[in-house]
Symmetry: C3
Subunit: 328 residues, 3 copies
């Protein structure tokens, strides 16, 4: 996994017209409402945000658990619990609000806030950011939107009315009509709802070589890191891929399936139509998930599951047969 | 509920380039094919349509049941059953056809019929009706369509390729890419199918302050009144909200959920992904509906349900455990 | 069924800027990697592709089973199994690759490959192919794309941000906002995944008179023949109709339902919301399919089914009641 993160580093600054750096000590002022304590001794300039998956240089990490990595001089920990290990950190009474306050300060995060249309080229009804990087061989249909920082490599085909933001798209990818790639994920907090309080998302979507995305799909950007679809994977229509999902290579997903946030799908997985996969679980390599399954728990390599909650497909079939017998 | 309707009155005429008023007595001629009887004595000018939820001035109401409110001088009742109470009414042999005939006469109802593109301003690929009312602070992305009568208040963000018609949108709302807000609802009649016979819809969508709508969602306009989403409620991607649905405040709905026509969702309800909610039911305040539930009946405040048909979540979990045990 | 195919013939060449005809003997060279044998004696010029449903003039058919029709002089059979009956055929070791190789040679198949924007008229943000045939009475909203070969007849209404390709649309049809009609179907091969290996689709979508399509739907083009929706049928929002599906007349389909490839839906069928219908099955006339059903097998005329896997609705209700009783 670390491998995956290190091989897919991206430059945060490509995606933002402005990033407001902030002195570690000024962070305390910004969080004044959240009773920050104790004061910290570090005097670093914060330029980025880290997640548990990837620690970035000169960054802040938000933690609701103990920090377990080796102390880094250029990392500022903000937490709502007491940290040990002699690390410098800022304690706050609300970690979600701390996250929102700092990210809203550092990143003008809303997808259309960040830019203005003078920075776009117009081509066949499509608006293409002057700060995107698109290979000449790429074909783009009509009425698309390609946002700041987006990279699209050789021979990729973008059909019509496609919206692409915050994405790095490798060669030979196809994205069909009316799909939305790289929009903000569903970052809500049940104690503080509403669009004004949506959690800022600053991550990307990474689509590797030869990926195929059908029509009217939505693939949300990562919250801090990325949402990832591996080489040769293919998605049918009306599919939803939430923030931070990682999909391996050669994965086949049929229509109307949804994958919840932060789940990991292995290589060579086959997923039927109208499947739901819960958040924060792991589907092993070479799994087969029957149509209309609801997968609620992690499953190991080579599993074949069906039903809701999904179980081994042989057991499920037996169960269904018994059920049928019981209904005279 | 009455409260909700009275606090959210809207001017029907804002949304139509023409409304053809009709004398009560001419209604009889218009319905000649439907054997209208008896003749009525009223001599009022019909300007609007009423529903059981809200009686409007100088209007018609269509009823397939007894009219139970106090008689109003300026209300014309059309019904397919015999009314009592000495009220003046027109009886017809097909109430659905009567509805279609009168609404098609009074309202050039189809969303794109009603207008022509000379009445639109063009901005960054977006077409914005000159008869809409949009605050200067509103940000609108590329390739959107904002139709006649639409109101959008302060600081609302409309992303790209969004279609908004027949809607009143309060401040600080966010609507993500490729969503369709205020399109005609699914008004079919199994005895008379086809696009020519679709029931006219003349209502609105009302999105209150701080609502968040994800990407590729569809929110249909009300049939006569409105489809309503209350303050601070948040919707993920690929969600369908049918005509006349009323959603309270602080409601959280995960991706790919669908809510059928005329259902009412209370405040502070949490709804998982891929849930289906049947039509004409009521979900109480503070309910929690697990992912992939199919809710077929009304549920009281504070219910927690799961499964299909949805039942109490504790019972459902017990049931699932028993089921698992029975499968060796 | 033959009737249906013969009544809905379309001119393949209308949909392609170039079709590369190929001599039967050159086909062997094109398939050199797939160990073609034996050589054939025919000297015909191949101009089209046939399916088992419809044999076209001067065409190739790809078969993974015995060819059972009377031998035709102008038909070239390519198969991965030994054919009998003294027919001339080319045997290959991989029929899927043979299909891809020949179709990619003959048809520049990708929807946006086939054309360039000089061949489009621009109207209110919509791009309309000069090689489409659209009646003057048709209303087209803003920011649509209407591709090469598309025919749209009298009084049809296309709303906003709609993408229509490879389609023949009869009169009085309505297509609502953000829908995608006629995009390539989900043609994958688990042994050879990725967008570069997507199976070419060269078929059409046929929407008959008075069809109604809701918002944000996807209807894929047929693989070789067509995806078909019969007269007066109505679809709600966010519905997926896969390649080669045939839907009869007066069919009513509620929101978020998906129908998998090559299934056949009879006349006067009513399908609830969030239903899934498996591929290659047949739903008889006048069937009723309850909301959230998963139909896995063909069902005869007049069936009423519910549940997943769907069973007779009375049995299902009894089963649910028993289940409820068993949960104390």
């Amino acid at each position: 996994m670390e491998h995956l993160f290190n091989n897919n580093l991206f430059e945060r600054k490509n995606f933002f017209s402005t990033i407001n750096y902030i002195e570690a000590k000024s962070v305390i002022d910004l969080l004044a409402d959240l009773k920050p304590s104790p004061s910290i001794n570090k005097n670093i300039l914060i330029k980025d945000i880290s997640s548990k998956s990837l620690i970035r240089k000169n960054s802040i990490i938000f933690l609701d658990e103990l920090y377990s990595n080796p102390t880094k001089e250029d990392l500022l920990v903000i937490s709502n619990i007491d940290q040990k290990n002699n690390i410098d950190y800022i304690k706050v009474n609300n970690i979600s609000q701390a996250y929102n306050k700092i990210l809203n300060f550092m990143f003008p995060h809303e997808d259309i806030h960040a830019d203005n249309f003078d920075n776009y080229n117009y081509l066949n009804g499509s608006y293409i950011s002057k700060y995107s990087k698109i290979d000449d061989s790429v074909e783009i249909g009509s009425n698309c939107f390609i946002g700041r920082g987006v990279e699209i490599k050789k021979n990729t085909i973008i059909k019509n009315n496609v919206v692409i933001k915050n994405s790095i798209i490798e060669k030979n990818v196809t994205i069909c009509d009316n799909s939305t790639i790289g929009s903000t994920g569903f970052g809500f907090n049940l104690n503080c709802m509403g669009s004004k309080h949506v959690n800022p998302h600053i991550g990307t979507v990474i689509l590797k070589e030869n990926v195929y995305i059908g029509a009217n799909c939505t693939i949300d950007r990562g919250k801090i890191d990325f949402t990832f679809i591996g080489k040769n994977s293919m998605l049918d229509n009306l599919i939803h891929i939430a923030h931070n999902v990682i999909i391996g290579e050669n994965v086949c997903i049929a229509a109307q399936t949804g994958i919840s946030g932060s789940s990991i799908i292995g290589n060579n997985v086959v997923i039927g139509g109208q499947v739901g996969i819960a958040g924060h679980i792991k589907i092993g390599d070479k799994c087969i998930i029957a149509a209309r399954s609801g997968v609620t728990k992690s499953i190991p390599d080579n599993s074949k599951v069906a039903g809701f909650p999904a179980i081994d497909i042989k057991k499920w079939k037996k169960f269904i047969i018994n059920q049928r017998v019981s209904i005279k």
